[in-house]
């Protein structure tokens, strides 16, 4: 049953990892920008859930509905006003730019929320379910299902809606999209806004499970890196596959080598994948 527990844990964690990474992957794929603010957006989302629950007793499920539009607007404006100015510059410039923005946001969070670790504790607690010997806490289960739902929503959006098709078109061939009458600047901003909204929602879900502190943002960002590279950039299914693989490797790794080595293992895996299979497990060019 030990093996079954590891597997279930991996699936639960893997869906959350996918949710962390999917906005990052969207921005990287469409805008060709490595968005280093992603981790801080997630933490900001977690603080939003924490604040809404503690001040107004709004449960985190509803906080998602607040976080999504709020973060979309934030991301949209950030892209429109700042990042669009350097979007055609080389990697170094865009990467350093998002790093600078991340420093500002992270410092602001430390300044206003302090660096203490906090925890959103639901009262009454939701308990846990157990089937045979496999135990899963209910809040984790709900977070996993919500993460899957968000992922599915993005998939549908990209697949079915007009804006979604335009985003995919820009991702596939920017110049051809311009010729077809797509307003690339606005699509960039929408894609970045979507990425930010997903990060905010992911943050709300993370608040249910993990401690909240501005210091955790780099950890989330690292996970997003690894998941994107493992799964392959540019597809929703890739992010899911990458998330599951990462969670599985971490689970098995920490069982055999101890939890201290899980991060090392995941980053070594990242480097190996980058060298041997940079397109990832399910890599292909289009974003769905």
């Amino acid at each position: 049953m030990h093996a079954a527990q590891i597997l279930v844990n991996a699936v639960v964690l893997g869906c959350l990892y996918a949710c962390i990474a999917i906005g990052f992957s969207l921005v990287w794929g469409v805008l060709n920008v490595i968005n280093l603010i992603h981790g801080s957006f997630i933490v900001l989302g977690a603080y939003l859930a924490f604040g809404l629950y503690n001040a107004l007793h709004i449960s985190p499920w509803y906080s998602i509905a607040v976080a999504a539009p709020l973060f979309f607007v934030l991301g949209y404006l950030l892209q429109r006003l700042l990042l669009n100015r350097v979007i055609t510059a080389p990697v170094l410039v865009t990467l350093t730019m998002t790093f600078g923005l991340d420093l500002i946001l992270n410092n602001a969070m430390i300044y206003f929320f302090k660096a203490d670790y906090r925890k959103l504790t639901l009262t009454p607690s939701l308990g846990s379910v157990s089937i045979f010997d496999v135990v899963v806490p209910v809040d984790r289960l709900i977070a996993t299902v919500s993460a899957l739902a968000l992922t599915g929503l993005l998939y549908l959006l990209l697949r079915r809606s007009r804006v979604g098709r335009a985003i995919v078109a820009v991702r596939l061939d920017r110049d051809a999209a311009v010729l077809m009458g797509v307003d690339v600047k606005s699509i960039y901003a929408i894609a970045f806004g979507l990425g930010a909204a997903l990060a905010g929602c992911a943050g709300v879900l993370m608040a249910l499970i993990f401690p909240i502190s501005p210091l955790t943002s780099s950890g989330y960002l690292g996970k997003a890196f690894v998941v994107c590279v493992l799964g392959g950039l540019g597809s929703v299914s890739g992010a899911l596959a990458g998330g599951l693989l990462l969670a599985l490797v971490e689970g098995i790794g920490s069982t055999f080598f101890g939890p201290a080595h899980a991060t090392t293992l995941s980053f070594i895996l990242l480097i190996v994948f980058l060298i041997l299979r940079p397109q990832g497990l399910l890599g292909r060019k289009g974003f769905e």
Partner: protein
Amino acid sequence: MTKSNIALLVLLAVVASLPLFGGAYALRLGTIACMYAIMALSWNVVGGFAGYPSFATAAFFGFGAYTAGVLLNKGLPLWLCVVIAAVTALLIAAVLGAALLRLRGHYFAIASLSLVEVLRELVNNATDLTGGGMGLNIPLGSGSGVLAEAMFFFYAMWILLLLTVLMVMAVAGSKLGFGLACIRQNETASSMVGLNTTLYKSIAFGLSACFVSAAGGVYAAWVHYIDPSDVFDILYSVKPIVMALMGGLGSPLGVACGAFLYLGLEEVVWRNYIQIHTGVLGLIIVLLLLFLPHGLISLRPANLWRRVKHV
């Protein structure tokens, strides 16, 4: 010898005369200034000359600090520790470079970033050797007095900076530098005309690691205590890039000036706004990239009314 190289050497000589004018505080600033300049100039070899966005500086800095720290605890003399740190970093970076530098653009950036994470976690977990998260204490020197010791480490760092500058000048003026410039402009084309790009990139990566690692070693001996989150701080990877962007990518004189200017800014911000100093640093980065993407070196009167354009 070009005009800008001479200017760079003159600048170095000016820095060396610092102890004549200032006390312990000036010496501390001078030591950090030399350290930053070493990092920025080293990064410039791979980031400026070859055009690869490396974020691995912190990895080699921490590697050097820990190599020297562990060896100093074993009782080896400082100069030997620093030499060992430099040589091992050179070899490791050259071997790693052969694998990592096949990646381009974002993928290389992420791989070099993860190098920092991997090394930090390894050091964090090798508690027996490195003390893990508790950090590593490094024995004090001979006890020759505070000012004498500050003077010693200032000149140690300054000599490393001098060596770095000489290395950068040698690279810039050699076939290697020319090859790296070709790689920056068009890697596929340069390998088509017979340039061994893998070899060139590996050498560049090794050279960019070696002096950073040595500086890490001197830093460890200087501060007497290191811990993983301090020396493997990702900011050590980003600061050299900001300095290089500030001064002007690719030009050694510009990069060195950028490093000194950056330190000045950092010190002012740190002293006045300690609570928000990283935020202010972020703001400086953003403003710099938006309004001065070619660095201070582009601030010549003739360039002022030219439209800002990214390379």
